[in-house]
C-alpha cells in the first residue's frame, strides 16, 4: 500500500511540477483572494489583523477545491483513470498517494498565503508550534476529505459544480478549528488552542481511515 502510495503521489507531484499549474495559476489565485479580502474590508487594518486566521483558511479552502479538481482532471484525458484502475495498484495506496500530493501542494500554498497575511494584514506570531501543528493536521484533513469527495464527483459531467457542494459543508469543522488554532497562535485569542487541535487531528484521522476503507468501491465503480 505504501509503495503504491509513493508511486501515485510521486506521479501527481511530477505532473504538477512539469505543468506548473499550481505555481502559475493556483498560487496567484490564492494571493489574489487575500488581496480581495483587503479590498472587501476597506483596508481596515485592525479588522484585517483580527480576521486574518479565518481569511487565511477560507483562502486555503478555495485552493483545496482547485487542487482536488486538478488532481482528478489530470487523469480525465486519454483513459488515464482506466489505466490507473487496471494498473493493479492498491486502491488504498492510490487514495493515500493522491491525498499526499494534494497535501504537499496545499502546504506549499499555505507558506505563500502565510507570508501574504503577514505582509498584507500585519499579523505577528505568538505560538509557532501550534501554528505549524494545526496547519499540518488541517491540511491532512482537507486533502483526505477532498480526495474522497473528489473521487465521488470524478467522471461526472457536473463535477465542477458538484464538488464544492460536497466538500464545503463537510470541511466546515476544519475551517472552524483551524481558525481557532491560528487565532491563538497569532495572538488574537486567549483560548486553549490545543483543544481545537485535537478536533483537527480526529477529523484528519477519520477521513484518512474512511478514504482507505471506501476508495476501493469508488475506484471500481466511478
Amino acid at each position: 500500500m505504501w509503495r503504491d502510495a509513493a508511486v501515485v503521489g510521486g506521479k501527481d507531484i511530477r505532473i504538477e511540477i512539469q505543468s506548473r499549474v499550481a505555481t502559475m495559476q493556483v498560487a496567484p489565485y490564492a494571493v489574489l483572494v487575500l488581496l480581495l479580502f483587503g479590498f472587501a474590508f476597506d483596508q481596515n487594518h485592525t479588522l484585517l489583523t483580527q480576521a486574518a486566521p479565518g481569511l487565511f483558511w477560507v483562502a486555503v479552502l478555495l485552493c483545496t477545491l482547485l487542487a482536488v479538481q486538478r488532481s482528478y482532471a489530470i487523469e480525465a484525458a486519454d483513459g488515464a483513470r482506466d489505466g490507473l484502475r487496471l494498473s493493479g495498484l492498491d486502491p488504498a495506496g492510490i487514495f493515500l498517494g493522491k491525498a499526499a500530493a494534494v497535501t504537499a501542494q496545499l502546504l506549499a500554498l499555505e507558506v505563500i498565503l502565510g507570508v501574504g497575511i503577514v505582509v498584507l494584514f500585519g499579523t505577528s506570531l505568538h505560538d509557532p508550534v501550534l501554528l505549524l501543528a494545526s496547519a499540518g493536521a488541517a491540511t491532512i484533513g482537507l486533502a483526505a476529505s477532498g480526495t474522497v469527495y473528489g473521487m465521488i464527483a470524478s467522471g461526472l459531467r457536473v463535477r465542477e459544480t458538484l464538488l464544492p457542494l460536497l466538500i464545503l459543508p463537510v470541511v466546515a469543522p476544519v475551517l472552524l478549528a483551524a481558525t481557532q488554532c491560528w487565532m491563538v497562535a497569532l495572538g488574537t485569542s486567549q483560548t486553549d488552542g490545543w483543544k481545537w487541535m485535537s478536533l483537527l487531528g480526529a477529523f484528519g484521522a477519520i477521513y484518512v481511515a474512511l478514504g482507505i476503507l471506501t476508495f476501493s468501491t469508488l475506484v471500481e465503480e466511478t
Partner: protein, 257 residues
C-alpha cells in the same frame, strides 16, 4: 446468398395507466391517520394546552419542532441503513437504493422544517433568527450535506454506479447525525437540552400527551411520504427501463398509421 431475417425485437408494452400512480389503500390509510393525528395535535397544541410560565405562547412550537427534528434523524438513519444494505454484496438489491433515495429526500424536507421552526423559535426567545450555536450550526451542516447527497443522486449515468456512489456518500455524511443529536450534551449551547428522551422528562400532563401525539402525527406523515416517494423511484426505474421501448412503439405506431 440468402438474406437472414433480422432478429425479432422485444419491445415491452407501454405501462398501463392503472399502474402509474403511487397511491393505494395503504397510503390512504397512512395519510388519513397522519391528517387526523396532525389535526388533533394542532387542536390540543393551540387550544387545549396551557401557555408556559416562562416561554408563554412560544411553548406551542414544542409540538412541531422536536417531532420534525426526530423525523429528520429517522430519515437520515434509514438512508444510512439502506445504503449499508445496498453496499453489502449479500443484500444488494435495487429496493435498498430506492429506500435510501426516498428516506434521504424526505429527511431533507423535515430537516428544512426543523431549521425554519427553530429559527422562528430562536427569533422569539433569543431575539435573533440565527446564532452560531453548536446544535444550530450542525443541523444546518447536516441539511447542506444531505442536499449534496441529493445532488449526487440526481447525476446521470449507470444506475448501479450512481447507487454505489450515493451509498458511500451517505455513509460519509451520517456521523454528523449522532454528533448533532448530542450537541446539547457535549457543548455549552443556547439550545435547550432533551425535553422528552431522558429519565426525568421536563414536560407533563396535557403538554406531554400533545407532544407525544405530535411524534405520532409526524411519524405517520413521514411513512406516508416515504411510501409515495419510494413508489416514484419504482416508476422512475420503470421509465428508465421501458422508456426507450415505449418511444420505439410510438414511432412504429406513427409509421403504420
Amino acid at each position: 446468398m440468402a438474406a437472414t431475417a433480422p432478429p425479432a425485437q422485444t419491445v415491452a408494452a407501454p405501462p398501463g395507466p392503472a399502474s402509474c400512480g403511487t397511491g393505494d389503500l395503504t397510503t390512504r390509510v397512512l395519510g388519513l391517520i397522519a391528517a387526523v393525528t396532525g389535526a388533533l395535535t394542532a387542536y390540543l397544541g393551540l387550544v387545549f394546552t396551557p401557555r408556559d410560565a416562562v416561554q408563554g405562547q412560544l411553548v406551542r412550537l414544542i409540538y412541531v419542532h422536536p417531532a420534525a427534528a426526530t423525523t429528520c434523524y429517522v430519515g437520515f438513519g434509514l438512508c444510512a441503513v439502506a445504503s449499508v444494505a445496498y453496499l453489502w454484496p449479500r443484500t444488494r438489491h435495487r429496493r435498498w437504493d430506492r429506500l435510501a433515495a426516498a428516506s434521504g429526500e424526505v429527511g431533507v424536507l423535515f430537516c428544512i422544517v426543523t431549521l425554519i421552526t427553530g429559527s422562528i423559535w430562536g427569533r422569539a426567545s433569543w431575539g435573533v433568527w440565527w446564532t452560531w450555536d453548536a446544535r444550530l450550526t450542525l443541523t444546518a451542516l447536516l441539511c447542506a450535506v444531505f442536499i449534496g447527497y441529493l445532488a449526487v443522486r440526481r447525476t446521470t449515468g449507470d444506475p448501479d454506479v450512481r447507487a454505489k456512489r450515493s451509498a458511500v456518500f451517505a455513509l460519509l455524511c451520517i456521523p454528523i447525525v449522532p454528533i448533532d443529536h448530542e450537541a446539547t450534551t457535549w457543548w455549552t449551547t443556547l439550545h435547550q437540552g432533551n425535553t422528552l428522551f431522558r429519565s426525568n422528562p421536563s414536560i407533563h400532563g396535557s403538554q406531554l400527551v400533545t407532544m407525544l401525539l405530535s411524534f405520532v402525527a409526524f411519524g405517520f406523515g413521514f411513512a406516508w411520504l416515504m411510501v409515495h416517494r419510494y413508489r416514484v423511484e419504482v416508476l422512475e426505474d420503470r421509465y428508465d427501463q421501458e422508456g426507450f421501448a415505449v418511444a420505439i412503439a410510438e414511432r412504429r405506431a406513427e409509421g403504420s398509421g
